[in-house]
Amino acid sequence: MTQAVLEDAPVVKPRRSRLTGGRALYIYTWVIMAWLILPVLFMIAFGFNDTPGRYNQTWEGFTFKWYGRVFDLDELTKALVVSLGVAVVSSFVAGALGTGIGYALGRFRFRGSGTLNLIMFATISSPELVMGTSLLTLFVSVGAGLGVVTITIAHIMFSISFVAIVVRARVLTLDRSIEEAAADLGANAWTTFWRITFPIILPAVGAGMMLAFALSLDDFVVTNFTAGTTTTFPLWIWGATRVGLPPQVNVMGTLIFMAGVLLAVASSIRSRPRKRS
């Protein structure tokens, strides 16, 4: 019966919802984005899990209590402090050393620049694992104990090249005549660098340092080999998984995540090109 009724209904020409290339890609992109964010949402959600025991595995109800107790676990807090400290120090040191290299490579032609380029390329493309293990063998063979210092040394090492590349890219596009103009207007080399060059490349230096900061904060592999008994945030998490992650980890992860988001949003707002009038 229904069939007949349907067939008697006036024929409406079906509007073919044709998926154009752009639309299909649009949907696809959002699916990928959803996939990317899924574990993060999961992590954030379980920071609100009212779990009683050691294992934050199944959903037990909503609570804010872990936010209140975020610093209850001394060792976790300490690990986070170590991570942040190492990240700050290594981003500054790598920022300074990388800027030196990046500026020199972008500005001058000099003997040995080829070798330097090669080494930088090697540091970027060699497996983290190998960097970590080779540093470990070095530290072991000179009898240096492992700890915060060795972690920081390692983080600076793998960050330098990234800073240098970012800075060099900026210096290469820096109009040489701007520095000449400064000299022309009576500035010596020192003044020219600090008053003109440095402020201009500062955004690149900042970007490089932020990259170094992020690389350091997130690093697990190299840190794992150079840490000894010192624990960083990722290492603590790694160790904690053996027995179950406390919800505080989710809370801290969420807070770091939010800080990163805020930082990125703020910097993108600041760097938005101002309108020409």
Partner: protein, 376 residues
């Protein structure tokens, strides 16, 4: 190259070593204590009591999951003569125990500072092959390695080692990544006593284990994280340490079972040791001795359900049970009666000891046979 600091000759420190080490050591009122997870009531009642009694602050961390990684982690610092951040650690007899001793990484113990130990410890521990006379270590607890399983997933009772090879549990079987724990089960499954095994036996056991692995039966090789895997349903049946499962059931309300298989389990001892570079050895040794007070040994055993090195604690637990009521009472009575906590002589008959390696070469041969099972 890497310079080891130890001598290849086993233990036996110079006569005046103890005096030399302890000379001039003072108490600093704090102690950093590294232990395994599931080895103390999370509320740490004994430590609180210790602090209240002595004023010494204890920082307790469950950072040891397996002996290999622990040794590898602290070795560079100890070799460099640096503090590892811990004054006290709990290490198992086995390959790395010997490495610690041979490398000279452990402080010799001054037994005059261990009156409770001298008074209350089971005397047989002083005869253990890995540290005769308790020169460097005294026991924390002993324990057995057996099989744990989830009865909600496996309905038939598990009784044999062969159950770990049962294709019915394909992808749901957990084994230890520690080569000795793993190798022991391989050998016992073939009826070999690990303590008296030969390299030939090792190869046979390795083959048996490889068979288990290549059939896809083994889900993974675990360190302490096997408990988590069992809890998540990742494994249904697994090698397990005796007290862990009891604690897991208590804290998470699970209902897992632990059995010593018919063919036998293994017995091992986890030991207190003071790393040679410890900052607060005096406080550490004080804490060690504290656990040999009968009441403290009793409460610890009541919670962790591992073999208690203080025989007198059994009576103490019975006394505690008498004071308690209801479920608690039953539980405490069960602990006092448990062969896992106070094994009788007959129970020991069913248990096998770990193989002691006389030479480095022997130990390396063992490793090279079993390592590839875990890694390759």
């Amino acid at each position: 190259g890497v310079k080891g600091t130890g001598t290849s000759a086993p233990s036996a420190p110079a006569a005046d070593a103890v005096a030399k080490y302890w000379a001039g050591k003072t108490s600093n009122g704090k102690v950093d204590f590294a232990n395994w997870p599931l080895y103390m009531d999370p509320k740490q009642p004994e430590l609180k009591k210790f602090t209240a009694a002595t004023g010494v602050q204890v920082k307790y961390q469950e950072v040891i999951q397996e002996m290999g990684p622990w040794f590898a982690k602290v070795q560079p610092q100890l070799a460099a003569g640096q503090s590892i951040g811990y004054d006290l650690m709990v290490i198992t007899n086995g390959v790395q125990f010997k490495q610690f001793v041979d490398s000279g990484f452990l402080a010799p113990l001054d037994h005059s500072k261990l009156p409770n130990y001298v008074a209350n410890a089971d005397k047989s521990y002083a005869q253990e092959a890995f540290d005769p006379g308790n020169v460097y270590t005294i026991p924390w607890t002993s324990g057995m390695t057996g099989i744990a399983y989830d009865p909600s997933k496996i309905t038939r009772p598990i009784t044999k080692l062969a159950d770990l090879w049962d294709p019915a549990f394909k992808g749901k079987v957990g084994m230890y990544s520690d080569t000795q724990e793993l190798g022991n089960f391989g050998m016992m499954a073939l009826g070999i006593d690990p303590a008296k095994s030969t390299p030939d036996d090792w190869k046979k056991a390795a083959a048996k284990l490889k068979e288990q692995k290549s059939a896809g039966i083994v889900r993974n090789y675990y360190d302490q994280s096997y408990v988590d895997a069992l809890g998540k349903g990742e494994v249904w049946i697994t090698q397990a340490w005796s007290g862990d499962i009891f604690q897991k059931n208590v804290s998470d309300g699970t209902n897992f079972k632990f059995v010593i298989p018919d063919e036998g389990g293994t017995i091992w001892t986890d030991n207190f040791a003071i790393p040679i570079t410890a900052q607060n050895p005096l406080d550490a040794i004080k804490l060690m001795d504290f656990f040999y007070e009968v009441e403290n040994a009793a409460t610890l055993a009541e919670y962790i359900n591992y073999v208690c090195p203080v025989p007198a604690a059994q009576e103490q637990i019975k006394k505690d049970a008498a004071k308690a009521s209801g479920d608690d009472k039953a539980a405490l009575e069960a602990v006092a009666a448990s062969p896992l906590v106070f094994p009788a002589q007959s129970d020991y008959a069913k248990l096998h000891y770990f193989r002691d390696f006389a030479t480095v070469a022997e130990q390396q041969e063992y490793q090279s046979i079993f390592e590839p099972i875990v890694l390759a």
